[in-house]
């Protein structure tokens, strides 16, 4: 495939969505990126979705559905914010703590999975409940509030969100595309049995995957918490929902991955999702309508992916 074709293929969906959203906004007399707040909102949404998409995809590509990632983000942000507030420290300390604690929680999930050898869905549901309960107990159910802490809330700038997104992208490309671990990971994704027979050790590989996914969710928890200065509690799997925002960008990213790296695909998928979110905000679309539109977009895209061959044949005729 030529370079030009690859670039066009990779940018077709995000650029197409951007143009459509801008046209709709303009027709309503609204500028999509008209204010600094819109730009922050767009970049923050992109960073949020990117981190969740990376975290979800790492294990999902290996057939491990991890429902505990949202709860790991919740618990890591609770612990990191409590420590940060106690130390009267700044956002950088909180970010580092969130990433480290998220990584530890991810590793713990992975350790439980490889130890008990139950299906990952069951293990991750159990871990989700455990982490939600831990967060609830640590805060007495009240969550953490720092809505008046300007230092922590002040972290939310375009530059900072871009830096986090770039760091996550570089980490993912470096670890999964340029290390022996990454090659082993790909071998396990392609054919677990064959890979194990060639001497690749599946357990350490899985543990590192959980560790990285947890660390990424730690960063996502940090962004969510410092966005509005409050961490509200979730029980009975309430923390699972953030995971679902990653599905559309993951499918889009998977499609774009044909033309470029899947990591860049996820980034473009996240930006597509952020564009749609920004359009909802700028046009003041009610949440019920948002849900219908989002569901329709995802179903349409899945229908397209499943019938791509037939569509191409039809177009040829």
């Amino acid at each position: 495939m030529s370079r030009g074709k690859r670039i066009a293929g990779a940018l077709a969906i995000p650029a197409g969505v951007l143009i459509v959203c801008m046209l709709i906004s303009m027709s309503c007399g609204v500028s999509l990126f008209g204010s600094p707040l819109s730009r922050i909102t767009f970049v923050r949404a992109g960073a949020n979705v990117l981190l969740v998409t990376f975290a979800l995809s790492i294990n999902l590509n290996s057939g491990r559905f991890d429902f505990s990632i949202g709860s790991a983000a919740l618990l890591s942000s609770v612990i990191s914010s409590m420590i940060t507030l106690k130390l009267n420290a700044g956002p950088v300390v909180m970010l580092i703590l969130s990433v480290v604690i998220g990584g530890i929680l991810g590793l713990l999930s992975g350790f439980v999975y490889v130890t008990v050898k139950l299906p990952p869905i069951i293990v991750s549901l159990g871990m989700a409940l455990f982490y939600e309960g831990m967060a609830f107990t640590l805060t007495g159910g009240h969550g953490v509030s720092f809505a008046s802490n300007t230092a922590l809330l002040g972290f939310g700038t375009v530059t900072n969100y871009l830096l986090i997104s770039a760091a996550a992208l570089i980490l993912m490309i470096a670890v999964f595309d340029h290390t022996s671990f990454g090659y082993e990971y790909k071998a396990l994704v392609s054919g677990q049995k064959v890979a194990v027979n060639t001497g690749i050790r599946e357990v350490p590989n899985a543990l590192i995957c959980y560790l990285i996914a947890g660390a990424l969710m730690g960063a996502q928890g940090f962004i969510s918490a410092t966005n509005n200065g409050a961490i509200t509690m979730s029980l009975n799997f309430g923390s699972i929902s953030p995971m679902f925002m990653a599905f559309l960008p993951m499918f889009i990213g998977g499609f774009i991955g044909r033309y470029t790296s899947d990591k860049v695909g996820y980034l473009l998928g996240a930006l597509t999702s952020a564009t749609i979110s920004l359009t909802y905000i700028r046009l003041d679309i009610p949440s019920s309508t948002q849900q219908i539109v989002s569901a329709l977009l995802m179903v349409t895209f899945l229908i397209y992916l499943n019938n791509e061959g037939k569509l191409k044949q039809l177009l040829k005729h």
């Binding site: 909102t41 509030s145 008046s148 200065g229 409050a230 979110s277």
Partner: protein
């Protein structure tokens, strides 16, 4: 030998009979068994387990009431629908609960019917029945009654909050209408009250209606409140629902930072929705409860008005349920279950909020202590109603 053994047995039997008779006569001498000697099990239905308000209510029952009364509480999980409520009641029945206090409202008629058929006392806390529901169930033997802010109080609370800011000359507003889009009446009435105050202050109408008619207008619009001019007052931003996604947070930030918004009004959860996004200089009013965080926000100037339920407000309904379990139900003069209303404590400055919170969060000397609640067990309806209606901070702490 046999003779003396027979004599001994006769003597023993006589002694036993005498002791039995003595015991029986003791029981019949007017000293009734103390009902408080036996532990009363009470089930509590909750639709929310994580909000500050729900935690404060639970703490009052578990940390205070349980320590001073011979009662045991069983709390349900977070109940999201009528089926979950029925299942929780079944669980309470299986655990021999004698009474149920409900803070879940997915299907109150079904809850009442179930408790009546199972002969378990049932009471509504922090809410009331609709007039039609009350007429239907007021005569049920096991329906104890309801205490909570009725919908007119919710409306008035919203009205008073908006008026507070309108009286200061503010004319540009933003609103968070919470669960109005899920048709939660409490939030619709609070929002309607706020809009009605704007109509009165701005000499205008909200989409052609004023006053209580706004409730119907919001209902007809699917629980949505729309932006626009209300006479000389401007409603320039509205956020609803609890989506917790990027678009929702983005909308909250957009309304909070809109230069055309001076005051942010929340029907609830204002401290976790607008507070973090609100730039300095803008006003924020909320209807919620008193927590350490809300006091902190008021001290920082982030929150400027708080109408809050106090956790001990569920004390009287507990006393009424316990009284019924002791065989002394509190009924109106017509022999019906009671329906009483109780409102909010309003703080307009940090000092007042702090004072309210200190009392509200105390597990040793709460707003309603055992000594006060004891007066309600077996009380007449009039005394009970008088006690409940005197709910302001100053009246309670007098």
């Amino acid at each position: 030998m046999m003779k003396s053994l027979r004599k001994f047995l006769v003597l023993q039997l006589s002694l036993m009979m005498a002791l039995c008779l003595g015991a029986c006569s003791g029981g019949g001498s007017g000293q009734a068994e103390d009902p408080s000697a036996k532990t009363v099990k009470i089930g509590v239905l909750v639709s929310d387990t994580t909000s500050a308000e729900a935690l404060a209510f639970r703490s009052y029952y578990e940390d205070y009431i349980k320590s001073v009364y011979n009662v045991e509480f069983m709390f349900s999980d977070e109940l999201k629908d009528a089926a979950a409520e029925q299942s929780a009641i079944d669980n309470f029945i299986a655990n021999n609960c004698q009474g149920i206090i409900s803070m879940a409202s997915a299907d109150r008629p079904a809850q009442i019917e179930k408790c009546e058929s199972e002969k378990i006392y049932y009471a509504v806390a922090t809410g009331t029945l609709t007039d039609e529901q009350y007429e239907t169930y007021k005569g049920y033997e096991y329906y104890v009654g309801a205490i909570g802010p009725d919908l007119s109080i919710e409306y008035q609370t919203g009205y008073d909050m908006a008026k507070y800011f309108l009286d200061q000359g503010y004319t540009k507003f933003g609103m968070f209408t919470g669960a109005s889009v899920y048709f939660t009446e409490m939030h619709i009435y609070r929002a309607a009250g706020m809009l009605a105050a704007m109509c009165d202050a701005g000499n205008g109408t909200y989409n052609g209606v004023t006053g209580m008619d706004i409730v119907g207008k919001i209902m007809a619009d699917g629980g949505e409140v729309t932006t626009g001019k209300i006479g000389s007052i401007e409603l320039n931003g509205v956020v609803s629902g609890y989506d917790f996604d990027d678009a929702w947070f983005g909308k909250l930030a957009a309304v909070a930072n809109d230069p055309e918004v001076e005051v942010l009004l929340a029907v609830g959860s204002g401290q976790v929705t607008f507070a973090g996004f609100k730039p300095e200089g803008k006003m924020l009013g909320d209807i919620d409860c008193y927590t350490a965080d809300s006091v902190g926000l008021m001290e920082a100037g982030t929150l400027n008005y708080l109408a809050g339920k106090f956790s001990a407000s569920i004390g009287p309904i507990f006393a009424a349920t316990l009284s019924a379990a002791y065989g002394k139900p509190i009924r109106t003069s017509e022999g019906n279950a009671f329906a009483l209303s109780q409102g909010y404590w309003v703080a307009k400055d940090a000092e007042t909020a702090k004072k309210y919170y200190e009392v509200d969060s105390s597990v040793t000397d709460p707003a309603y202590s055992k000594e006060q609640l004891d007066t309600l067990i077996g009380a007449s309806y009039d005394d009970f109603a008088k006690f409940v209606s005197a709910y302001s901070f100053d009246e309670i702490k007098k």
